[in-house]
């Protein structure tokens, strides 16, 4: 069989190039394997990991902060609502008890006298309820001191306002009792105001 020599040369060159290509592929694979095994990977993986952890920690911190903020706001709202109601109750109670103790029972018409006695007891009951309700609200030490002082004042106001001849038709006006009640109610209002300052 006669083969053209130029064709043989082409075949030889092709085989040689194929061998070269194979060698190059092998070289590239060895380089990639070496790179994967080397610390070069760690050098860019570590910053990536740190970045990821920082992002998660940042998100967690933001979540915890907003949750804390929400709880503080909730607490302030609960305290503020209770204190506002107490302020209104004490103001009404003050008007009623002071005027009640400034006049003799005999100078008041029967239904008015009885009505005022009932109103005083009802307002005191509500004041006791709201004052007690404050204890369930978590508060700062200074707010707690104001709430404790308020509880003592409410107790004293109860003793004084409904004591002596409170429900007697023979009750005599008592200026000292009215003055004490006015003072205690004013102090109670002041304690409530302190609860409204955050």
């Amino acid at each position: 069989m006669n083969i053209d020599p130029s064709l043989l040369q082409v075949i030889e060159e092709s085989c040689h190039r194929f061998g070269e290509s194979q060698d190059r592929v092998l070289e590239q694979m060895q380089l990639i394997t070496a790179a994967l095994q080397s610390s070069e990977i760690d050098k860019w993986l570590i910053p990536l990991g740190v970045g990821f952890v920082s992002a998660v920690a940042g998100a967690m911190a933001a979540y915890l902060f907003s949750r804390l903020q929400w709880r503080i706001t909730q607490r302030q709202n609960a305290l503020s609502a209770g204190a506002t109601e107490l302020l209104s109750l004490i103001t009404q109670l003050e008007d009623l008890v002071v005027n009640f103790w400034l006049v003799d029972a005999s100078s008041m018409a029967g239904p008015v006298l009885h009505g005022d006695q009932l109103k005083i007891k009802s307002l005191l009951m509500l004041t006791i309820r709201y004052s007690r309700g404050l204890k369930s609200v978590k508060m700062t030490e200074s707010h707690k001191a104001s709430a404790d002082r308020l509880a003592v004042l409410v107790s004293d106001i109860y003793d004084l306002a409904t004591g002596d001849d409170f429900e007697s038709p023979h009750r005599k006006a008592s200026n000292p009792t009215a003055v004490k009640l006015a003072t205690q109610c004013a102090e109670a209002r002041s304690s409530v105001h302190k609860l409204l300052h955050f």
Binding site: K121, Y158, D159, G163, E167
Partner: protein
């Protein structure tokens, strides 16, 4: 009828004096060893005045019927509404602070 007033003479029909003389004192006198008087505070009354509570409970000590400690031991104060804890504390305080036999009792009936 809501408890109100200190004395019979207050014409409330449910004064502290009446409660003490007609209910609490007879119950105490009939109390057997180991027994207690159960006082339920919130089974009707909306509130109590301190004049009623002082006369009704502390009057037992003030008029010399019984000393404060055995009276406190004989009473079992109950309520379901937590607001009435205030009145329980008041009753106990008035009894504890009362001076034994410091006054002679004269009925105002």
């Amino acid at each position: 009828m809501d408890p109100s007033g200190r004395f019979y003479s207050d014409d409330s029909g449910a004064s502290g004096e009446q409660f003490r003389e007609e209910h609490l004192l007879p119950a105490l006198q009939n109390l057997q060893p180991g027994e207690k008087i159960i006082v339920i505070l919130d089974d009707g009354p909306e509130s109590y005045g301190s004049s009623f509570l002082t006369e009704g409970f502390a009057g037992i000590v003030k008029y010399g019927y019984m000393e404060a400690r055995p009276l406190l031991d004989a009473l079992e104060i109950e309520y379901t509404d937590p607001d009435y804890e205030f009145f329980e504390k008041k009753i106990k305080k008035y009894i504890s602070e009362a001076k034994f036999a410091s006054k002679d009792y004269k009925s105002t009936k």
